[in-house]
């Protein structure tokens, strides 16, 4: 066997294989300091396998690093370059997938749910890209092993660490400094990394020159062990992720904010002599978000999520290449939301529930030109205690049929449910406090049906076309009750959602050039009390064009142009003099406290101007005798497009998104 990988020294070795047995061999590769300019092509590559991977995007760390950086490489911002993924502006890294809201996206870090994957008011990802090994992003139609989110799944796995040598990486941007350490352990390896913000100046560019006194850190580790001397065929992994954010105004008459994530997981992957794979996982994921009012008039708020999950998954691989998978997932979640209740006292409106899910699926992979993934997830108990989810049946189907080697038809259908959502004010363009809550007992679990059909064409090795159409409807969507006037009124009402669209993508990969272009035509609607409106992230047309070029000698550059037609907003239908009670004791004449206020037209019928932006990135890698490193230079919004973020409804003041913004990052590796 010859094992080679870009950036590592090629290795040759002999392997003894026994019939009807899986042979596991760990092959450590030593890093190479040579930069390959070209890759030799051997044989004719088949366009794609029969993998049932519709709506799945695999993103490599290299692709992440080549993209222009707002301030730093950011996983979530990179998703926004994909067709079908929307953002509501440069300010937020939150993303919306095929008409679903942000809380319908599942973020899994090493298989564990991460509840607040953002830093600094949602401006950046909390996951340091340095630790990422692989990213899989499902835009819909995902199979039965994934549950409790109805729009998308982002699966991020972190690196195991260098098994041969100890190494250290340090890097610095305008916002943070970070350090990564990795190295071998007896029968394994480890990786530990930490990142800390040290300056807020760059954040002003994101928030209309407003000072954001944000301070944050994140830290993650992973240690893995696999040795025949311990347990044959086993790989045991411990991993953790901790992040914290603070916004401290330093003024007793202003509120402060705090967020924390603590995530810890244990994973045991076992292969045996038969082709049976077993994976056991136990994890804890805590989230805490708090509004500390100090002496301001803002109400105190505290949200906590405590998630304990146990997973066990079995996969059996048949001689025919078919696979049968079955698993049991137990999720015990407690949400707490402390608010001032109607009596002015603090109350906890959270709840506690256990979700016991079972899934089974069968993958037909025996035919070269056909792949079918059919299965179902069954929720034996529900989180919310609404009573309607017991026995919840979520059948799912995904297929790939290759008509000729160059053309494949792919499709997926499935039912998905979710019982945990954020309390989000849709009228806010920036929401600083979005507490997680298990759906109230008076609402059924949120359910969605996905219908996806696509064609993939690869006429040449270097050229690929993808077309995907989708339709998604959502039921029992928990929406804030805008008509709540009294404490006895429900906080949520059940809404509906519907979205559909078509996505086109062309990708050309001919070293040293990589070119990607995509276009999406999409529609999304929400309905509440028989009133249908466009949600804030409904974008009719969007397009992305990216061009990456490897110049050799460690220099690479990229140019990305993003376009989207205008986001919906609520127009004004006039003004009136509104009476504001500024004197709560009514000592003066009340009629003098009248201020002109706009009257709103029907919700979200207007459209903001089109959004577009050109970003540029160039990076240079360099090697010295005892260390290597890279310098990265990016320009966001090269032609300084004045993209409208929002306008003040009472003064008309226009607030734009990111202006022309040059940034740089330096990275050193020992």
């Amino acid at each position: 066997m010859i094992v080679s990988y870009v950036g590592y020294i090629k290795k040759s070795l002999r392997i003894h294989v026994e019939p009807n047995k899986i042979t596991q061999v760990d092959i450590p590769l030593a890093p190479s300091s040579y930069e390959l300019q070209t890759i030799e092509k051997v044989g004719q590559r088949v366009a794609e396998s029969n993998a049932t991977d519709i709506s799945l995007q695999r993103i490599t760390v290299k692709e992440l690093e080549d993209l222009p950086k707002g301030v730093e490489t950011d996983v979530f911002r990179s998703l926004q370059y994909l067709p079908g993924v929307q953002s509501t502006g440069d300010v937020s890294a939150r993303y919306y997938v095929r008409g679903g809201s942000a809380d319908q996206n599942l973020v899994l870090l090493n298989g564990v749910t991460l509840y607040n994957p953002f830093h600094a008011l949602g401006l950046f990802s909390a996951i340091d890209p340095e630790v990422i090994n692989s990213i899989e992003f499902y835009k819909g139609g995902y199979s039965a092993e994934f549950g409790d989110r109805i729009s998308s799944v982002l699966k991020i796995n972190t690196k195991d660490g260098n098994k041969n040598n100890f190494a250290a990486k340090a890097s610095s941007s305008f916002l943070t400094g970070k350090l990564l350490l990795e190295g071998p352990l007896p029968a394994g390896s480890f990786m530990i990394t930490g990142r800390k913000s040290y300056s807020n100046d760059i954040l002003k560019k994101f928030l209309n020159e407003q000072t954001v006194p944000a301070d944050f850190y994140d830290m993650s580790f992973k240690a893995n062990f696999s040795s025949p001397n311990l347990i044959k065929g086993a790989k045991v992994t411990f991993h953790g992720f901790f992040s914290g954010d603070k916004v401290s105004n330093g003024d007793p008459f202003k509120e402060d904010f705090e967020w924390k994530n603590n995530l810890f997981g244990f994973n045991w992957f076992q292969i045996s002599d038969s082709p049976l794979f077993l994976e056991l996982g136990l994890s804890f994921s805590d989230f805490k978000g708090e509004v500390i009012p100090n002496f301001s008039n803002v109400k105190p708020k505290l949200n906590k999520v405590e998630d304990v999950t146990f997973k066990t998954d079995f996969t059996y691989v048949y001689d025919s290449k078919d696979e049968f998978s079955v698993g049991v997932h137990v999720k015990d979640i407690e949400t707490k939301l402390f608010l001032e209740n109607s009596k002015g006292a603090v109350s906890n409106v959270g709840t506690h529930g256990t979700l016991l899910s079972f899934y089974a699926k069968y993958k037909f992979l025996r035919y070269e030109n056909l792949g079918i993934d059919i299965g179902s997830r069954i929720n034996l108990t529900g989180l919310s205690g609404a009573g309607d989810n017991t026995g919840g049946f979520e059948p799912r189907l995904s297929f790939t049929y290759r008509i000729i080697p160059e053309i494949a038809i792919k499709g997926a259908w499935g039912i998905y449910s979710q019982e945990l959502s954020t309390v989000t004010d849709e009228d806010e363009v920036i929401t600083i406090f979005e507490p997680w809550l298990i759906n109230p007992f008076y609402l059924k679990p949120t359910q969605s049906r996905h219908y996806i059909l696509g064609v993939q064409m690869q006429p040449y090795n270097f050229l690929q076309f993808n077309v995907e159409g989708y339709y998604k409807d959502i039921f029992s969507l928990p929406l804030l009750n805008d008509n709540k006037a009294f404490s006895t009124d429900n906080d949520f009402v059940a809404g509906k959602g519907e979205s559909y669209g078509i996505e086109f993508m062309v990708r050309l990969t001919a070293d040293p050039v990589r070119f990607t272009a995509s276009y999406t035509n999409a529609y999304s609607y929400k309905e509440i009390d028989n009133w249908v409106y466009y949600p804030r992230y409904d974008v009719r047309h969007s397009a992305n064009i990216s061009l990456e070029y490897n110049w050799g000698w460690g220099v690479s550059s990229s140019l990305v142009w993003i376009y989207s037609s205008g986001l919906p907003f609520t127009q004004l239908s006039g003004f009136y003099d509104k009476y504001f009670i500024d004197d709560i004791y009514f000592d003066g004449n009340f009629y003098h406290n009248q201020i002109p206020i706009s009257i709103l037209d029907d919700k979200n019928l207007g459209r903001l101007p089109d959004y577009h932006r050109l970003d540029f990135n160039i990076s240079k890698k360099f090697d010295f005798t005892f260390f290597r490193g890279s310098i990265d230079f990016s320009i966001i919004n090269v032609y300084d497009r004045k993209n409208l973020f929002y306008f003040d409804k009472n003064t008309g003041e226009r607030v734009n998104m990111l202006p022309f913004l040059p940034t740089a990052t330096v990275k050193l590796e020992i």
Binding site: D251, I584, D601, D602, K642
Partner: protein, 322 residues
């Protein structure tokens, strides 16, 4: 070849400049005329006031240039059961720095004191035939718990002045405050003043700042004795002769809002967290056929006992017996 490249580059640069400009958008939809009525019935006065106005259609944001949208010639009536009272139109000169330079037009009724627990219905018939209607029920009286000490300083040496009451309607906002009523001898004449006691004093950037409470669903008020004492000291701040001050009474004033005023205050005072940017403000009204508020409040007062020793500790004279 170079010429073609230069041309392309030129066109590209011009195009980039063109698209980098900000694009216009239409912030205004179709204008729909709205009418607004505001009135808060108050139990502490005999004169009640109503304002009636219309919305205005401007296609820019120059709200400072509009004329006073107050509506003249409306017929405004209020019912208490079968009894009806008519409001009469009145105006007062505009205040310096006010929003409009023209006189302020309003409707008023005299000798009208709303009663606790009573429902009132109001109607404004506009000159164009439009009708604005609403109702309010004045909050019921609260009753103070007698088993809680109400003395300054507290009898139990707890250092906290605590007064609690029973509110028959718990979902109503309450604004409560302590006042110190005193006389100051100014050139031989005793002039009456009131000092409002804050909830607490906060030190910030080397300054001591008072913090006043917001209306809430509370049924008690607690203030530390040191806060009272600081408020007492402030009465004579800068005045070396403390004997000029005569403390008459410590008054607890409690105002209970009706359910509509409670909701209206909650919606107008709703404060987003810092850095949250809300596009659509909360809009609450109980006016049938228009916008605005028809609410009410009931005000009650109770005197809090005090010791002469406490008043004299500041150098002041007690004005009443303990």
């Amino acid at each position: 070849m170079m010429k073609i490249f230069n041309k392309i580059l030129f066109v590209l640069i011009i195009s980039l400049f063109a698209i980098s400009c900000s694009e216009d958008y239409e912030p205004f939809g179709v204008y729909r005329e709205n009418y607004i009525m505001n009135s808060v019935l108050r139990s502490d006065t005999t004169q009640q006031i109503v304002t009636v106005s219309s919305s205005y259609n401007i296609r820019n944001f120059e709200t400072g240039k509009v004329k006073d949208p107050a509506i003249e010639g409306a017929i405004v009536r209020i019912w208490e059961g079968d009894k009806v009272e008519f409001f009469s139109e009145a105006s007062v000169p505009s205040q310096p720095g006010g929003r409009y330079s023209t006189p302020f037009i309003f409707y008023t009724v005299d000798n009208f004191v709303p009663k606790a627990g009573t429902t009132y219905e109001i109607e404004a018939l506009l000159p164009n035939g439009r009708r604005l209607k609403s109702t309010t029920t004045l909050p019921k009286k609260i009753s103070f718990y007698t088993n809680i000490s109400k003395r300054i300083p507290p009898e139990d040496d707890s250092e906290i002045i605590h007064v609690a009451w029973f509110a028959p309607e718990p979902d109503r906002y309450v604004a409560a405050r302590f006042k110190v009523v005193y006389f100051k001898n100014e050139n031989g004449t005793e002039v009456r003043y009131e000092k409002i006691v804050p909830q607490e004093y906060i030190e910030f950037n080397g300054k001591i700042l008072p913090h006043y409470p917001e209306p809430s669903f509370t049924n008690s008020i607690e203030i530390e004795l040191k806060t009272f004492s600081r408020a007492m000291e402030e009465i004579s701040e800068g005045e070396p002769d403390k004997t000029k001050f005569k403390i008459l009474a410590f008054i607890l004033e409690i105002m209970v809002y009706d359910e509509y005023l409670t909701s209206y205050y909650a919606s107008t005072s709703a404060i987003s967290e810092d850095f949250s940017i809300s596009l659509d403000q909360a809009e609450y009204t109980n006016i049938e056929g228009g916008l605005g508020i028809f609410g009410s409040f009931y005000k009650q007062r109770t005197a809090v006992k005090f010791t002469h020793e406490y008043i004299r500790s500041f150098g002041y004279e007690p004005g009443l017996t303990e």
